[in-house]
Symmetry: C2
Amino acid sequence: MEIITTLALKERLAELQGTEVCLQGWIRNHRKQKNMGFIDFYDGMCFKNPQVVYDNTIEGWEKVSTLHVGASITVVGTVVPSYKDPTTPEIQARTITLEGDCPEDYPLQPKRHSVEFLREIAYLRPRTRLFQAVFRIRSVAAMAIHTYFQDRGYVYVHTPLITSNDAEGAGNTFTVTTAKMGEKYDASEDFFGKPTSLAVTGQLEGETFAMAFSKIYTFGPTFRAENSNTKTHAAEFWMIEPEIAFCDLQQLMDVEEEFLKFVVKTVIEKCPDELEFLDKFTGGGLLDKLNGLTGSKCARVTHDEAITILRKAMENGTKFQFEPKYGEDTAKEHEKYLTEEYFHSPVFVYDWPKDIKAFYMYQNDDGKTVSAVDLLVPGAGELMGGSQRETRMDKLTERMDQLGISKESLDWYINLRKFGGCTHSGFGMGFERLLIYLTGVDNIRDVIPYARTPMNCEF
Amino acid sequence: MEIITTLALKERLAELQGTEVCLQGWIRNHRKQKNMGFIDFYDGMCFKNPQVVYDNTIEGWEKVSTLHVGASITVVGTVVPSYKDPTTPEIQARTITLEGDCPEDYPLQPKRHSVEFLREIAYLRPRTRLFQAVFRIRSVAAMAIHTYFQDRGYVYVHTPLITSNDAEGAGNTFTVTTAKMGEKYDASEDFFGKPTSLAVTGQLEGETFAMAFSKIYTFGPTFRAENSNTKTHAAEFWMIEPEIAFCDLQQLMDVEEEFLKFVVKTVIEKCPDELEFLDKFTGGGLLDKLNGLTGSKCARVTHDEAITILRKAMENGTKFQFEPKYGEDTAKEHEKYLTEEYFHSPVFVYDWPKDIKAFYMYQNDDGKTVSAVDLLVPGAGELMGGSQRETRMDKLTERMDQLGISKESLDWYINLRKFGGCTHSGFGMGFERLLIYLTGVDNIRDVIPYARTPMNCEF
């Protein structure tokens, strides 16, 4: 007899109805009556799980009726329509065989556990419905991202993780070394012959590939040694950084918008059951938000315009903890107001004050702003940050000098402007931030399989 | 007028024939005649490039005819059939506009450069035909891998890169720290409160997800601080590690074979021009090898059988530097003989001597071997290594004790056997090894955008 997964069972339900199948998976819940038993069965391949029903004529009734929650089993039985839900099959079991037992002190019992408790048993939590939903969506969203870019001819580039240049000019990097800790250190004798750290971005290397393939994207891990214990910070996270030649800031926003809508739409199509569950779990509004996005047009305002809107709101009685100011960064509360109160949609804020943005951004003619753009979304704040890149070599090196960024170690980056440079733009999106937006789960620790945060590196 | 890429030009050639289009890209070569000019134009979106032809009636003839190799340009012109090759269009240019100049000392001149020289200018080499082929195939192969697994319901898992457990029990890991190098070191005050390193595998964490989703795969970077300067070693490389519940060793081989054929077939279909170029570049035989694989059946022999074959070959006059011995590891020359001389196909060698394999592999009844399998392929040696996992807790912990592997730090891994364990198997494939096989390029430094090797961490 054919061994099938619950995914195959769902896809071939009409054909399999009334036939005998074999399934292998685990017991999520087990309710026993006098002469019958009901097993909530799952194998993780499909979010909606079949119920396995057996009665006291089953071989080894005694043993079967005492099977523990968490045990792995092989079920042979007939596919019958479910009374409760015609789209979810029921299995009338002929035999149920224990594959691997699970003691009664199994930490995952069929009740609601707190996410804090589940973080402590992170190696078991993917078995819960919440994390089956979250990590399936993580996987489907990752594939949607690849599909978007690959279908449009972009080249996927693996930029290096170990690096000797600190692209953002900031500190907050992890040192990578093979030297003995606590002993005298000579960088020239370290593995790479110089100090190295974990990359905070792949953008600069990505630009070198965009100058060869026109359209490229990265999708890989990124590291920040930031000592902040917040809901949105992790030391290790995944990032997507597309870079596009012959593309200016307005065209970049077109790409960002199309890309985001594609990913959201794909997840809505492929994970309806997961999203329905998460919608309930997170208190409602998730599906409305996501469906709303795919139909809406993202607003576009300059930073100056955004500040004007915020200041008007303040004059009209909106309370902000921080005063919105021209030429200065915006706060989370401002982003929230713009997306959730004013525009009721995602908002591109562009032309940011030069002084709060990175050295590689195109300097606008006003001498005050750069061609940078942040995409703010309802519920998750800044989701993407991008810019048109500075292509004028004199402007770029002048800015590097002003900010004290070494030109020697980035000579190759500067040279891109010398050897056939062109207008080009790119953006970065933190994958976990997207997942927070997609799942409604609000803590980054719950959208990463094994989160790394200050003082925490378990499993 | 519509700005299109060379990819769109190729895909819509019939429709665009005779119409005027606008293209943006770079000059690979520029040949001038008295009243005409020919530009080898590329934008990296398509391997076969159109030729741009202009004559002395073009606006700014003087300037156009002196455009440098490497410069970026915008071309407006009519699509006409090429005399040389009907599948490659020609553009009869009306205007050619310089976007970014390129000086005459541009390191990439239209001649053959050595791969060693190109490694030194790794940020420019993606512009060459060789690396346009290699890195497009890298991208297409990555997507084929995702497609294979996602289409079959596998969950893509991002296992952690920073880890506090050293899974292989071996050294050769990079330390990750925020402590000041060369100063007194207290691990409890380091970023994570304990010593951490870069992961050499995601398998163990992958197994925790397989026990929840049945079928999962990882695809991410992996690190080895091995001080070896060979053609096949890099300190940072990408690895694919699928893990499958309710799957034994023979079923695992079925998956490996189907997976490999799928990826090779996809690359053959999507990159015919790139492969044709690489076939010539690497001296022929590449296409035959790849086409041969998709049609052949991989051989399967036990390690004992493989040694018997090798010893017979030796007796019949085949010279080996190392004598093939029962119970011992095989050498590269042995793998070469098996795949290229004896089977003329990829070969699965399984049931390996326990003492040369990892602690987590299923111990066979003979007491001497484990259910491990290596896939050897012609031209690239060991491409995948997998095993059925030890699911009996006593056998597993006994082996860990024998090898001195800490049970405390891996208690969660051991517990997978306690909480609903089941027969499961998985394999690992180094992505760069696959690329060496797919491209015929023999040095790992030439299939990684920016390779990290001992004493080398440039760009």
